[in-house]
């Protein structure tokens, strides 16, 4: 007899809570949350312990009750708060590759020479930067097209005028701003001294030297923000600094000339100016491609496919006797399915946050198709399909989510509920009591037939009930209509599945009868909207403790608009104050 063990109190989530969650609590969690967490953890075992309320999306002066009104409208927030960010942000490897590729007009992968991706500048990285710069320079000089793109003039006379033009044009793109006269002079000196710096002193050889040098420059490798003058409690950024923030946020790559032009005109100082540029950047085909890549990465982050939570999305193992559609490595396709879904909804369907959680669209590979009752096909072909809108509303009814959040023989009500609680609603809970995970699921009995019944019975007692009964379990009930691989079902162990439930959302008691109702509840939830904004900001600023002040509220409100799309959200995000100002305190 095997013992069916469920992760009690969503134990895995707690054990794998990444450090930033604690940071969040320390930096950002206000009294409410602190009290609430204490209620769920510190007093585990006390009869009648009140489960925590949601993570309040309001500011420190927000309501104090665990289930108080937390809607983003009308609550207090800090109107001048902007993210506390480092002044120096070294290009990530992905940014470095894209930036170099765009600068030289060749698809190159120089990060391959930099060793493992680590923070800062290490010996390995620095030596790699040098050899990568030399290698890129050699490729440019060896490619007539790339060379002609960088050298747009014909050297005449002593050639210094043309060299100066190369420096001005390429330097502006590499430094993401116009070079200072001292910087220009330093590069021009490499031309003057080219005989000493190259073998034959030709113009072409100098171009290689120039590229090699500038690709090692701190002002190229670092995104530097120099602005230091405060105004009204924060520091306005210069146009080029804003342009850089925007381009890496939308494209994960460098600003183009049009964006730099707008910066130099001063357009980016206003929200409207930033909006105009962002809309342009998301309208051009090449820009959309870059934005799609970025949203894909941000989505993986939002959904926890990277970092501590990623264990839930990987190493999926299912009993092949119960799940004929299972195959080893299915988790890779599951993750791909979900990311393609987000991409499809956001860009092909021009959908918004609500669509993400409610759309019947899916993008399915030939191998995953049978899970949806569709004919199987080529494993490498991904096809957009429209599913039954009643059965399959949105992201959380995609097999990619349901099939990964399960156990060997069945789906996991608790994992699924925990996902909604933590990832979609940004709530936190305390650690489960010792031994919780090893508590066996009760055996089938006359009144314990379905998984839901058994899980509820298992978690009904003290201390589990504090977290499970009103919070975790009701967030997973709707997905009882899907088995451990995400196949739709109406019965579980011979008994009808029960997908109804009641939970507290945004401070109110809300009931649903199935996954569709539930998806609509989440899609319309200010808390879920604000959580999405926060997760996106975490990704954008690489900072789990990022503070957006009222911008977070405003962006959440934007998501709630009927015509809001993911693209319009991106536009609003980079138009916000978070992209135009630095905080007056430096990142530690």
């Amino acid at each position: 007899m095997s013992v069916d063990v469920e992760a009690l109190c969503a134990g895995r989530e707690f054990r794998e809570t990444p450090p930033f969650e604690y940071l969040l609590r320390m930096r950002r969690w206000w009294l409410l949350a602190s009290l609430a967490v204490t209620a769920c953890t510190g007093k585990v075992g006390d009869p009648g312990t009140q489960a925590t309320g949601p993570r309040s999306p309001t500011g420190p002066t927000g309501p104090t009750g665990p289930t108080g009104p937390t809607g983003p409208t009308g609550t207090e927030c800090d109107p001048v708060a902007v993210p506390v960010t480092p002044r120096l942000r070294r290009l990530t490897f992905a940014q470095y590759d894209r930036t170099v590729s765009e600068l030289v007009g060749l698809t190159v992968n120089p990060s391959a020479e930099l060793g493992p991706e680590v923070d800062g500048i290490t010996p390995t990285l620095w030596t790699g930067v040098e050899s990568a710069a030399a290698s890129v320079a050699a490729q440019v000089v060896g490619s007539p097209n790339a060379y002609a793109r960088i050298v747009t003039c014909t050297p005449s006379g002593d050639g210094s005028a043309c060299a100066g033009q190369v420096i001005d044009d390429f330097g502006r793109l590499a430094y993401r701003r116009t070079l200072s006269s001292a910087e220009r002079d330093a590069y021009l000196a490499t031309y003057t001294d080219r005989a000493a710096l190259t073998e034959n002193g030709t113009f072409e050889e100098w171009v290689a030297v120039f590229l090699e040098v500038i690709l090692q420059a701190p002002n190229f490798l670092l995104r530097v923000e120099r602005s230091q003058n405060e105004a009204d409690g924060r520091i306005p950024l210069t146009g080029d600094e804003i342009a850089t923030r925007i381009s890496y946020a939308l494209w994960n790559g460098p600003p183009d000339e049009a964006l730099l032009d707008a910066a130099e005109r001063g357009d980016l100082a206003t929200a409207q100016g930033r909006k105009t540029q962002a809309e342009r950047m998301l309208a051009e085909a090449a820009g959309v491609t870059k934005a799609r890549n970025l949203v894909r990465a941000a989505s993986a982050d939002y959904l926890g496919m990277v970092g501590a939570y990623s264990a839930f999305w990987s190493n999926t193992q299912r009993d092949p006797n119960l799940f004929a559609e299972f195959y080893p490595g299915i988790d890779v396709d599951f993750r791909e399915e979900v990311l393609r879904y987000v991409d499809h909804v956001a860009f092909d369907q021009n959908g918004g946050f609500r669509s993400l959680l409610t759309s019947p669209q899916a993008v399915v590979s030939g191998r995953l198709a049978p899970i949806y009752g569709l004919p199987s096909g080529d494993p490498n072909t991904w096809t957009p399909v429209t599913l039954d809108a009643e059965q399959r509303p949105g992201l959380l009814t995609r097999a990619g989510f349901l099939g990964t959040h399960g156990r060997f023989t069945r789906g996991s009500l608790i994992f699924r509920g925990s996902f909604v609680l933590h990832r979609i609603l940004c709530e936190t809970t305390g650690a489960p009591p010792a031994g919780a995970e090893s508590t066996p699921l009760p055996m089938n009995q006359a009144d314990l037939v379905t998984t839901r019944q058994r899980v509820d019975a298992m978690t009904a007692g003290v201390p589990c009930s504090a977290c499970h009964t009103t919070r975790l379990n009701p967030m997973g009930y709707p997905y009882e209509a899907f088995d451990g691989l995400g196949r739709h079902r109406t019965t579980d162990n011979g008994a009808p599945v029960d997908t109804t439930g009641t939970l507290r959302l945004d401070g109110q008691e809300r009931s649903y009868s199935n996954a569709k109702d539930y998806a609509e509840l989440l899609a319309a939830s200010p808390q879920a909207q604000q959580c999405f904004v926060h997760r996106f900001a975490e990704f954008t600023f690489s900072d789990s403790a990022v503070e957006l002040g009222c911008t977070e509220r405003d962006l959440a409100q934007h998501l709630a608009l009927p015509d809001a799309t993911i693209k319009s959200f991106l536009v609003e995000l980079v138009s916000s104050d978070a992209f135009a100002y630095r905080a007056t305190t430096e990142a530690p």
């Binding site: 480092p86 500048i121 030596t127 040098e130 710096l197 120099r226």
Partner: protein, 551 residues
């Protein structure tokens, strides 16, 4: 737009940036540590040693064990004894002369180890050795493989090939060791067990490059006579100046701790880079190359035939160039493992032909080949006979090889490569007189960056009782009447019990150069080299490393 030297510049650039970094890594400046490349050299000499004189002497001054630290005392000068007194039935004077194998390695005493108490993995002697005693020992030395019939070749690949496969950079699409041979080499199709020490695979020997000009040509990529490295250095200085200027400007901003640390680290790296540029001798440059091995010296061998390359007159000069080529190849990261084979099993030159040995005290048999002297009778056979001062001749030859080994260490150390390397000197046999497979000695220099211990004589036997085997004066084999080399060509020293198989040393060396984790241990260690055992019932492998050697 044509850059004929592009490849050179790229290679040179890599070395230029890589090598100064060595000094970075060895200093605590940088918070992050990055592994420096580890390297291995296998130095092989024929005919075994004169074990009665070879070792530093720990017990000479009354010490209780032959094993322990190598100190100035253990390297103390040895006086010539001309007496005829018998000690324990043997005229000890035959072992008492100033020459001995490691005499001139005192400068490296803290950086070498002397290993005792091993046997060949391949056991057996004339009676059951395919390839004969010489062939078996030679083929088995760096393969620890069984011996095949017919040509008597090793049945597995040698450690140099295995290491190259594991750690070498890819050069011209391959990861190969640099295999060098001093003297005339054999065609793999008709050579035998005595011919080769390096094997690509079972019965697939690599005879090695024996023309220094051929081996050198790869170094010609360091453009001959071009001041290209000067351009490169000037360019690097320009980069350093520019980067420093920008960083100093950035330092003037109001920075958080992390930002400030980033700038500080970067400036520190620049400083190290500049230090490196100030020491061009440590970089893969024409200056370094020409300083060590000027092209003209090597080009002299262009067009030499295989037979001509075996001329005794050139033995030392070719060997010296080969060792310099090893050091330069390491410097330029063309390879991280090299093998140098001096002559072949049962081989070796007549040293007199090299014009050396004149002025040698005592009777110097300059016309006798090494193998003939190793039999003590001036013959390639085992018939009775004992040449005057022949033990001293043998000691002198050991010392001659010891001096070559010392030169190799010097070339590596001149490029600051020694401490991160393992340089293994192993002879064909243990005792040259016995031609036997036991009492195998190895000298190991370098610690592979701290993986190994050094500065010691180590008892590598399995029971730690090797002292009991040793003569208390010489630290060599016990000397009794039956062992009197003047009288007996003794084939029965019978010390197999307690010996560790020499494949454990090979395993240790292999692991020493593999990538390591935080704990200093290889992330993917080998349990045993060779990993594949062969069908030879006489080849007895042991698992694990020689733990005595581990730091």
């Amino acid at each position: 737009m044509n850059f004929p030297r592009r490849r050179f510049l790229k290679g040179l650039g890599g070395a230029l940036v890589g090598l100064p970094a060595l000094s970075i890594f060895s200093r605590p400046v940088a918070a992050q540590t990055t592994p420096t490349p580890k390297r291995a050299v296998f130095f092989w000499s024929p005919n075994g040693f004169n074990l009665s004189t070879f070792y530093p002497r720990n017990r000479h001054g009354g010490g209780s064990s032959a094993f322990g630290p190598l100190t100035a005392d253990t390297f103390a000068a040895r006086a010539l004894d001309t007496s005829t007194t018998l000690t324990n039935g043997v005229p000890r004077a035959i072992f008492r002369h100033p020459e001995w194998g490691l005499r001139n390695l005192q400068a490296y005493s803290s950086r070498i180890s002397v290993l005792r108490g091993m046997r060949n993995s391949r056991q057996g002697f004339l009676d059951l050795a395919d390839g004969g005693d010489h062939g078996m020992n030679t083929a088995n030395r760096f393969t620890a493989a069984g011996i095949g019939g017919g040509q008597g070749l090793a049945l597995g690949r040698s450690l140099d090939y295995a290491i190259a496969d594991a750690i070498n950079p890819v050069v011209d699409g391959q990861k190969l060791p640099l295999v060098l041979h001093v003297g005339t080499n054999a065609d793999p199709r008709n050579g035998n067990g005595t011919s080769f020490i390096s094997y690509k695979g079972p019965e697939d020997p690599d005879p090695g490059i024996n023309n220094p000009w051929v081996a050198y040509r790869r170094l010609m990529g360091i453009s001959s006579g071009s001041p290209a490295e000067d351009h490169l250095v000037r360019k690097r200085r320009r980069v350093a100046d520019l980067v420093r200027g920008e960083l100093q400007q950035i330092q003037g901003l109001r920075l958080g701790n992390r930002d400030r640390q980033l700038v500080t680290n970067w400036l520190g790296l620049l400083e190290e880079t500049e230090d490196g540029m100030n020491n061009m001798g440590l970089m893969c440059t024409t200056a370094a190359r020409d300083g060590l091995a000027p092209e003209a010296n090597v080009r002299a061998y262009e067009g030499r035939t295989n037979d001509q390359l075996g001329r005794y007159e050139d033995f030392q000069q070719i060997g010296d160039l080969m060792m310099k080529i090893i050091a330069l190849s390491f410097l330029c990261d063309h390879t991280r493992v090299a093998t140098i084979q001096w002559s072949s099993g049962a081989g070796g030159p007549a040293f007199g032909s090299m014009g050396i040995g004149s002025g040698q005290n005592g009777t110097w048999h300059g016309g006798e080949r090494h193998h003939e002297l190793s039999h003590r009778n001036g013959s390639d056979g085992a018939e009775p006979g004992f040449l005057t001062d022949v033990e001293r001749n043998m000691s002198w030859i050991d010392m001659w090889y010891g001096d070559r080994y010392r030169d190799l260490l010097g070339y590596l150390d001149g490029f600051s490569l020694l401490d991160d390397s393992v340089v293994v000197w192993m002879p064909e046999f243990g005792d040259g007189r016995q031609h036997h497979f036991i009492d195998i000695t190895a000298v190991v220099a370098g610690t592979a960056g701290g993986y190994l211990r050094s500065g010691q004589m180590f008892d590598c036997s399995s029971n730690g009782r090797w002292d009991e085997r040793l003569d208390t004066e010489t630290n060599g084999p016990r000397i009794g009447p039956a062992d009197n080399p003047a009288n007996v060509y003794n084939l029965d020293i019978g010390w197999i019990d307690g010996c560790s198989s020499h494949n454990k040393l090979l395993t240790t060396v292999f692991n020493a150069v593999l990538p390591r984790g935080q704990d200093g241990r290889p992330t993917n260690p080998v349990r045993r080299f060779p990993e594949v055992d062969t069908a030879d019932p006489h080849n007895h492998l042991e698992d694990g490393e020689l733990t005595q050697l581990l730091a």
